[in-house]
């Protein structure tokens, strides 16, 4: 069902203003949330995570870019998000990809921020290789 719904998705023209871009973000979030039961079934995630937790993960991903105000950038991010959602629903990813990106990824980041006693070098080292 989710697969059929996502199959007819077309690339929309650029948003005219910020309000339209904002509207499209909510539309994308709704589409993603309605796909989550299918994702749970496809990847058999019932013993790892719940639908509400996945929904929180998706909303936190969207919230990371809450500071963006350029409609063109928002359209680009929405395009990437829709591509990612399509990859997930079409089973172009494996189970451990989903778990690593949307289930465990949050915990790793959370644990990293708790280490306040480490030096700046170690903090940067844990975060990324490029610094």
């Amino acid at each position: 069902m989710a697969n059929a719904a996502l199959r007819n998705v077309k690339v929309l023209p650029n948003s005219a203003n910020m309000e339209e871009a904002r509207h499209r973000v909510f539309q994308f979030f709704r589409t993603a949330c309605r796909s989550l039961p299918s994702v749970m079934e496809i990847y058999n995630l019932y013993d790892v995570v719940s639908v509400s937790e996945l929904r929180s993960s998706v909303s936190s991903q969207i919230r990371k870019n809450i500071h963006v105000t350029d409609p063109k950038v928002i359209d680009m991010l929405l395009f990437k998000g829709m591509e990612e959602l399509k990859n997930v629903v079409d089973h172009s990813k494996q189970r451990h990809h989903i778990i690593g990106q949307y289930v465990v990824g949050q915990q790793v980041q959370d644990s990293a921020t708790k280490d306040q006693g480490t030096s700046t070098f170690l903090k940067n080292f844990y975060n990324t290789n490029y610094f």
Partner: protein, 186 residues
């Protein structure tokens, strides 16, 4: 519902393979007049499946569509007759739906979901007139609450409906209305 559709997603490659085989067989045997009724029914069912699931195979899809239209029209005739008989009662039930207010159970359930979604402490006051924005929820939080309510009550809130939700009472009223519509339609 979701599990059935997801299961069909799983078996998609098998369906594709069988689709090709069936297509070739049908094309090869089309001039045969001795085709049995059973085979014909099975083929028409396959066409009907093809119509909904794959964008390719335009010829087969076309034939399937014709078959589907024929079946739908016959079934539609029956359902139209059925609907005519029960139309007055549908009207009265719809009039009742307009006057329905949200039940206390629904309001309580909505409050629980909102509290869980926004990670509010149990001591915080959550009255039916409380606004989501007053609780510190932004627009994305509101949409997330609506999606959570959809999952809990098994309904689908349309875009027009979700835009007007800003308090617990409005959410509960809309949910009650949608539940009534859903039960009335079935």
């Amino acid at each position: 519902m979701a599990s059935v559709s997801a299961t069909s997603l799983r078996f998609q490659p098998f369906l594709k393979l069988s689709t090709r085989t069936t297509t070739q067989r049908n094309q090869f045997k089309f001039p045969n007049i001795n085709t049995s009724e059973k085979k014909f029914r099975r083929c028409s069912e396959m066409y009907h499946d093809l119509e909904g699931r794959s964008n390719g195979w335009k010829r087969v899809t076309k034939e399937g569509r014709d078959q589907g239209c024929y079946k739908t029209s016959s079934l539609g005739a029956v359902s139209v007759g059925w609907n005519r008989r029960t139309f007055p009662s549908l009207r009265s039930s719809r009039l009742r739906i307009c006057a329905v207010k949200a039940q206390p159970e629904t309001v309580q359930k909505v409050c629980d979901i909102v509290r869980k979604q926004l990670a509010l402490p149990a001591e915080s006051e959550l009255t039916p007139d409380t606004k989501f924005s007053a609780l510190g929820a932004d627009s994305l939080d509101t949409v997330e609450i609506v999606m959570g309510l959809e999952e809990e009550f098994g309904i689908t809130v349309e875009e027009d409906g979700s835009q007007n939700i800003s308090t617990v009472q409005e959410a509960a009223d809309l949910i009650e209305k949608l539940i009534q519509d859903k039960s009335g339609a079935s």
